[in-house]
């Protein structure tokens, strides 16, 4: 399908090449290396039928849009303004390649520059790259930056997403780097333990943490930063960009590298992909950063334009000495985020963040008023919290599901950590209505 030639043209082109058949084009492949069987292994459907087929397949899924969903854990159901789908469906954006010819790619490049600028403003960081695959790989790449600068000891908070931790372990399989997990106290990093380790490893360590952390709670960024600076380490954070409209941004507490999953900013949950890795840093790291970065310049008549800069860091030039292997990144996702941030603007972002905060506290307090739940921590959270259930989690989740409610994530199920037995991770975004939250609470009250 999608071959634009008439049979006549094919014949004409073959005859121009002095060939009889299309098969003759492949004489360079030794005969014994060719596929013998002509059996069709795929049940072919054309456009008329494929739409129906895919519609049916999509309906074999239950969606978070047809449930009252409190699922989070790294992928969030935030509101997406209608403008975004309309604008990114312009084929000028989505059918272009990576901007290798800047003179005819100013649309993509300027959007890239604006993405970097908006992320820089949101994070209060000097430099942002153009994009990475997801929050997990952006964080792994940030660790790689410091490893290459000679830092061998990576302290990691145990409150980091277990999904990110899996990716980090994989990226550094069998490599010369020591990972040391810092335990938690009240579901946030144990500051005293961190201090002890930082002191032991003075001058040659960096600390990696997430805030709001995987359990939803806010880490004590000032205390962490103070310890890291006192013992001359480096600081790497993974944060929720939506939270930064009201929470202290990484640039204000001295993060060397700050990363994030950008899905919250206008991307659909989409079964966990495509996502958007955000990677920012202090200016001094700009030459060590992985991946594409867009910079401003002028053309030969002095007109402002944009190009990718510091290409000598990248694989196509530096090859085995490149700062990373990344080539294709997630540009269209970054474009979505750029449009999202522009539409929401200063007030809109604050509003989203505040809605998340207010609604999650509203649910939290209502749940705590039920006898089946108890607190696990007194620390503040942002849009997600962990809570302990006195009834078996499986039973609770199943009952809720029958009522078309996704009550949350069974933390033991995904971590296999005994200390997390019967804990539930619950997320409330701006999309959850009060009546849905009340319905959920009433249902639990009735059922247990």
């Amino acid at each position: 399908m999608f071959i634009p030639h008439s049979e006549e043209e094919i014949k004409e082109m073959l005859s121009y090449l002095g060939l009889k058949s299309l098969e003759d084009l492949f004489t360079v492949i030794p005969e014994e290396l060719k596929v013998k069987s002509d059996e069709e292994k795929i049940k072919v459907l054309k456009e008329l039928a494929i739409r129906e087929e895919l519609k049916k397949l999509s309906q074999e899924n239950k969606t978070i849009s047809s449930y009252i969903s409190f699922l989070g854990g790294g992928i969030y159901d935030h509101y997406i303004p209608s403008c975004i789908d309309q604008l990114v469906s312009r084929s000028e954006f989505y059918t272009a390649y990576t901007p290798y010819q800047p003179e005819v790619s100013q649309g993509t490049l300027q959007a890239m520059f604006e993405f970097q600028s908006l992320i820089g403003d949101l994070f209060k960081m000097d430099v942002s790259t153009a994009s990475h695959y997801d929050g997990a790989t952006a964080l792994a790449e940030a660790i790689y930056v410091l490893k290459k600068k000679g830092y061998k000891n990576c302290l990691i908070s145990s409150s980091l997403s277990p999904f990110y931790w899996e990716v980090i372990k994989t990226y550094f399989l069998g490599q010369d780097i020591n990972f040391l997990k810092i335990p938690l106290k009240e579901f946030i990093t144990d500051i005293f333990y961190l201090e002890k380790k930082a002191k032991e490893l003075e001058n040659n360590f960096f600390f990696v943490f997430q805030t709001p952390n995987f359990f939803g709670f806010l880490e004590e960024v000032d205390a962490i930063s103070e310890i890291v600076q006192r013992y001359k380490g480096k600081l790497v954070v993974s944060c929720d960009p939506i939270s930064l409209a009201i929470l202290k941004p990484p640039g204000e507490y001295g993060a060397d590298l700050a990363t994030a999953e950008g899905q919250s900013l206008g991307l659909y949950p989409s079964f966990g992909g495509p996502l958007l890795g955000i990677l920012t840093s202090k200016k001094e790291y700009i030459r060590d950063l992985p991946g594409r970065i867009c910079g401003k310049t002028v053309d030969k008549e002095g007109k402002v334009g944009y190009v990718t800069v510091l290409q000598t860091r990248e694989q196509h030039i530096r090859r085995e000495k490149a700062t990373s292997n990344i080539c294709t990144n997630q540009q269209l996702c970054a474009l979505r985020v750029t449009i999202y941030l522009s539409l929401m603007g200063r007030e809109g972002l604050k509003k989203v963040a505040n809605f998340c905060l207010q609604k999650s506290y509203y649910l939290y307090e209502n749940l705590l008023s039920l006898p089946i739940f108890e607190k696990v921590s007194n620390k503040p959270f942002f849009k997600e919290f962990t809570i302990k259930s006195k009834v078996p989690i499986k039973e609770l989740l199943n009952k809720c599901e029958k009522e078309k409610i996704y009550a949350g994530i069974d933390l033991y199920e995904i971590t296999r950590d005994e200390s997390l037995k019967d804990t539930l991770l619950i997320c409330v975004t701006e999309k959850r209505k009060k009546e849905e939250i009340d319905y959920f609470v009433k249902f639990l009250k009735r059922s247990f």
Binding site: M1, F2, P4, L14, Y16, L17, L25, L33, V35, I42, V44, L54, T63, Y79, S91, F93, Y94, A96, Y97, T98, Y100, Q101, V104, S105, Q106, G107, T108, D121, Y133, A136, T137, F163, K169, T170, Y171, G174, K248, P269, S270, F271, G273, P274, I293, D299, V304, G305, L310, E320, K321, S324, N325, T328, N329, Q331, L332, L335, L341, L343, Y361, Y406
Partner: protein, 479 residues
């Protein structure tokens, strides 16, 4: 400036209220969160919806794109992106799926992935495919890690990865990231792996060879079988960079010749759009002895039920969840519309287009560094024009003036002034002929008025941009 920066539209007080009033009782933020965790000042843009829309529409007008005309970037397979892909991948039942829903609730998604895996297995001759890597380079890294773990478990200390000098830059970069050491293998005068040089570099220290076939010159490695046997004789493995799969779907299967592990680029061979630089997808296929090492989870089927399977030997994960699912839907749709027979025709026409273009360009005086026959792409050398002080870059820029996207330039590195052309099967003959006449015109211009080419482009939104200045000043965000 062509279009203002977003920031220049910003005025305090502009606000698009998408959320309306809050419906729960509001608390004082300061009462919930301690002062020292709060943001003090939040300076951010404020732009109205209509201005945002106009801004991005104006930006879109500055892009050249595939829906406008030929995009012959070699190694990138810029083929038509069917519109039905975009439609079906936006169905609510796909985009509102959360990765942590129960298996019972996501059977449609698992089924789609399971079947896509099956299609890719059939096309490649591999035993299983992990869809997880989000791009080609990630597929390479994943493959290197699989090989690393395999040898770690076998307690064999192998540090070296062999890479032909024609390889794509992501290959050596992935090798280093995985903690291996690169060793380059020379190409021979036919533009293929030099067997003698390969043998010289083979030892029990070698973990694998990374090979691209057809290679980046568009040339099929006719000794592929012998090459693989050589590697295997030393207990080393063979990884195939599948970026060039568009050359032989339904005609040749890498798995059948003994390739142990390979990656696919769904955003090349299987028509999913490039998005101006992603998202793509770079699934990895492996032979059965390597399958347990592939990323977790795998997708299996029992009766009519699909489920996730975790292997303890696995390298772990190379993405947060299951990969770029939305891209899978597009590739799946394309494969269902084509079938293996359709893919065969696809490759045949891709090779027909490339050969037609090559011969016509050679007839008007352009030439390839290597004379060997090529499949879906070919690489011209433009070194002859240096006598007029014209470089590949200049000719690329002049093409833009004639509403053609330029081919890939300066890659592969073994061709001086390389001009790598891949038309793909979806370029109509008329468009190829237009491209040929433009190339002919530029050739004449070089003889008659080389400055016209040297100074190109002339008709694009901006003229040639000062990359030196951009690199020196490093303005990478607005003030």
């Amino acid at each position: 400036m062509l279009e203002k920066l977003l920031k220049e539209y910003s005025k305090r007080g502009k606000f698009n209220d998408y959320l309306g009033e809050i419906d729960v009782e509001k608390k004082d933020i300061e009462k919930i969160i301690p002062q020292n965790l709060l943001r003090k000042d939040f300076e951010f843009i404020e732009v109205s919806e209509i201005e945002v829309i106009r801004h991005f529409i104006r930006l879109s007008n500055l892009n050249y794109h595939l829906d406008k005309g030929i995009y012959p970037l070699g190694s990138c397979t810029m083929k038509h992106n069917p519109k039905v892909n975009e439609e079906v991948s936006s169905y609510e039942g796909f985009i509102f799926l959360h990765p942590l829903q129960k298996e019972e609730d996501i059977q449609g998604a698992l089924k789609l992935m399971y079947e896509l895996i099956y299609f890719l297995k059939e096309i490649s001759g591999m035993d299983y495919v992990s869809l997880q890597p989000p791009a080609g380079a990630s597929g390479e890294l994943t493959s290197m890690l699989v090989i690393k773990k395999y040898f770690m478990d076998k307690k064999e200390d192998r540090k070296i990865v062999l890479i032909p000098d024609s390889a794509h830059g992501t290959n050596p970069a992935s090798v280093t990231m995985a903690g291996f050491i690169c060793q380059t293998i020379k190409s021979n005068s036919e533009g293929m792996v030099d067997l003698d040089d390969l043998k010289k570099n083979l030892s029990e220290q070698v973990a694998c060879l990374m090979i691209t076939n057809p290679n980046t010159l568009g040339i099929f490695e006719k000794n592929i079988k012998i090459i693989i046997e050589e590697l295997h004789r030393y207990g080393a493995l063979v990884y195939l960079d599948g970026a060039n799969l568009n050359a032989y779907c339904g005609i040749h299967r890498p798995g059948d010749v003994g390739v142990d592990i390979m990656h696919f680029n769904l955003h090349k061979t299987f028509s999913t759009p490039h998005g101006g630089g992603g998202p793509g997808a770079g699934p990895v296929g492996a032979k059965s002895f390597l399958v347990p090492y592939l990323p977790n989870p795998k997708i299996e089927k029992e009766g009519e039920r699909y489920y996730f399977k975790y292997d303890k030997e696995s390298i772990g994960k190379t993405a947060s969840f299951y990969g770029n699912f939305n891209v899978f839907i597009k590739a799946y749709t394309y494969l269902r519309m084509n079938g293996i027979k359709g893919l065969k025709k696809m490759s045949q026409i891709a090779v027909l287009n490339a050969n037609y273009l090559r011969k016509r360009l050679e007839e008007i005086g352009f030439s390839c560094e290597y004379k060997t026959s090529t499949l879906h792409e070919f690489v011209l050398t433009l070194k002859d024009f240096k006598r007029k002080d014209i470089r590949a870059l200049d000719i690329a820029k002049r093409l833009l003036d004639y509403d053609c996207h330029a081919p890939t330039i300066y890659f592969p590195l073994i061709v001086p002034e390389a001009f790598m052309i891949e038309p793909t099967e979806t370029e109509p003959k008329e468009e190829l002929d237009r491209f040929i006449s433009v190339m002919k015109k530029i050739k004449e211009e070089i003889e008659e008025n080389p400055n016209l080419v040297k100074e190109a482009p002339h008709n694009t939104p901006v003229k040639r941009l000062d990359e030196g200045k951009a690199g020196r000043e490093l303005v990478v965000k607005w003030d």
